[in-house]
């Protein structure tokens, strides 16, 4: 499979903070990569580098191009939603469609119109008159009508209510995604992308904490609900994380002997959220807000 994104030792420092401390990344065509990390982990910086919006050190190729020096060319095949609410507030829905149709050679107006027909968005409304969820729908309609090879979303559903969030990912998967496209999405809302992504990347403090496919995750990590009397024995097998839930002890193992673990209690694949908490705490760092 062709590599859509290839980064080696991607670094970026701002005045007195290290935003990216050398990240390696390989994304093949047809994958949906979820990038997850606490606020200030470097997610947005990494995406900005991929989109040619910010300079960086290290090697980076997106669709075979150098995003920083070949940005204009890259933007014909890459589309992104950098944030919720970046559509200008003064623009009318019809103007937004006209403009994108006028400047983007791969924009299919009929597709955008038919997507909008499924929403309550009026053609004559200005963005400032729409609810936050509707603005996200409009932006998604514009982006999905573009026949792009790579689609990048940075926190696309931040601040939206649960209905819009669900709808957003449903539309993305059902109406847009096919094996010829590649999607990279960052979010803090881990649960909502659990069933969407094919690949997972955790980053913290500008470093990769985990980078694996969902299939690999299933075979690599296992969570066991341990009976109290066997807790000590289970702990001897070196779980990477332990938590208590409803009076039961839940241990998380990495690359453990499944046969052996099954005797301690029910086992299952951990949720991304639990895995995230486990790996982040093991870094000896509290997930924290802060400067980038």
């Amino acid at each position: 499979m062709a590599l859509v994104i290839e980064a080696r030792g991607l670094r970026k420092t701002f005045k007195n903070t290290v935003a990216l401390a050398g990240i390696d990344l390989r994304v093949e065509a047809g994958r949906i990569l979820g990038v997850i990390g606490p606020n200030g982990a470097g997610k947005t910086t990494a995406l900005n580098a991929i989109l040619g919006l910010t300079s960086y050190q290290g090697e980076l190729k997106v669709l075979g191009l150098d995003p920083w020096s070949q940005r204009d060319q890259l933007m014909r095949d890459v589309c992104f939603i950098a944030d919720v609410a970046v559509l200008p507030r003064w623009i009318k829905v019809s103007q937004a469609i006209d403009y994108v149709a006028g400047v983007h050679p791969r924009f299919d107006r009929a597709k955008a119109e038919s997507f909008l027909a499924k929403t309550n968005i009026q053609r004559g409304s200005r963005v400032r008159e729409l609810s936050k969820g509707m603005v996200a729908q409009l932006h998604l309609a514009l982006v999905m009508a573009i026949d792009a090879k790579l689609l990048v979303f940075d926190e696309p559903t931040l601040g939206l209510d649960i209905l819009y969030r669900k709808q957003f990912y449903d539309s993305l998967l059902n109406d847009y995604f096919d094996r010829s496209r590649t999607i990279v999405v960052t979010t803090n809302l881990v649960e909502e992308i659990q069933d969407v992504i094919t690949d997972l990347m955790f980053i913290n403090r500008g470093q990769t904490v985990l980078n694996c496919s969902m299939e690999e995750l299933e075979s690599r990590f296992i969570e066991v609900v341990v009976k109290p009397e066997q807790a000590a024995a289970a702990r001897a097998l070196k779980p990477i994380y332990e938590r208590q839930s409803l009076g039961r002890t839940i241990l998380l193992f990495e690359r453990a002997d499944r046969q052996q673990l099954s005797s301690f209690g029910d086992s299952r694949t951990p949720s991304i959220a639990d895995l995230f908490v486990a790996l982040m705490s093991n870094q000896g760092t509290q997930p924290q807000g802060g400067s980038r």
Binding site: L53, D72, G102, V103, H104, P105, D108, A110
Partner: protein, 308 residues
Amino acid sequence: MSTQSNALSQSFGSNNMVPEISAPVHPLYWSIRRELWESRSVYLAPLGAAAVALFGFMISMTHFPARVHEILSLDPMKQQHAFAQPYEIATALIMGAAFIVSIFYSLDALYGERRDRSILFWKSLPVSDLTAVLSKVSVPLLILPFLAFAIVIVTTSIMLLMNAAALVGSSFTFAELWPRLALVQSGLGLLYHLVTVHILWYAPLYAWLFFISAWARRAPFLWAFLPPLVLAAFEKITFHTSYVSDLLIYRVSGGSDASMDGNDFAANPHAPMTPGAFLGEPGLWIGLLVAAALIAAAVRMRRYRDPV
């Protein structure tokens, strides 16, 4: 304008190879239209000024026949001035509105899109920073001057009709009024003044506003106007010289002085044009070079600075 690609539209979610949709695109044209969607004051302000002028002129027409006799008792030079004055004021009002809009538009052009973060949307589309900046620069340097000129012509024509209507039944005929207004000369003079002064001579001033608009993190208005004034005052106090203020004055009025003989356009719109002297003025060419450099810097900043 845009070509539909309905014929190429696909059913959703198909795994077939999607044919390359390649509709013809016109990034500069659509970027300029985009500017006019956003900044409606570009045409609303001069139109509003024209409406006010027309309204005032209409009221004045009710006692125009009486006023004609007063004017005709003046000496011929003053006659011409008295008849033409409302036209000159209307022109000045429209041009003044366009000029003020130009200044505020230019200062906001590259600053506003960063402030409201919409630059992240514009940058997600395949429109180069050069195209984006040039579309914005064309508003004060091409669109506004010629739009204002067209509005002046239309407004003047309507005033002329009102004048003619007010003279029906009067002993003073329209045929006698027309040569006293000298409207054709005024129109040509205005067009010449716009091209020489407002476009060519003021290009570096607008470019400076765009540069500040691209550079300033906040308060572009202050950054654009205060430093030159402070610098001039500092020079005067410290060295008792006035090179900076002379340069500023030259940049504001030098083009007008060079483009017409002895008098500036506002004082006498019928002064003889001196295009040769204007084109021979080194300040014109230096100014255009400075303008190009400032615009290039603005493009680079939009391209290479971290967004928002």
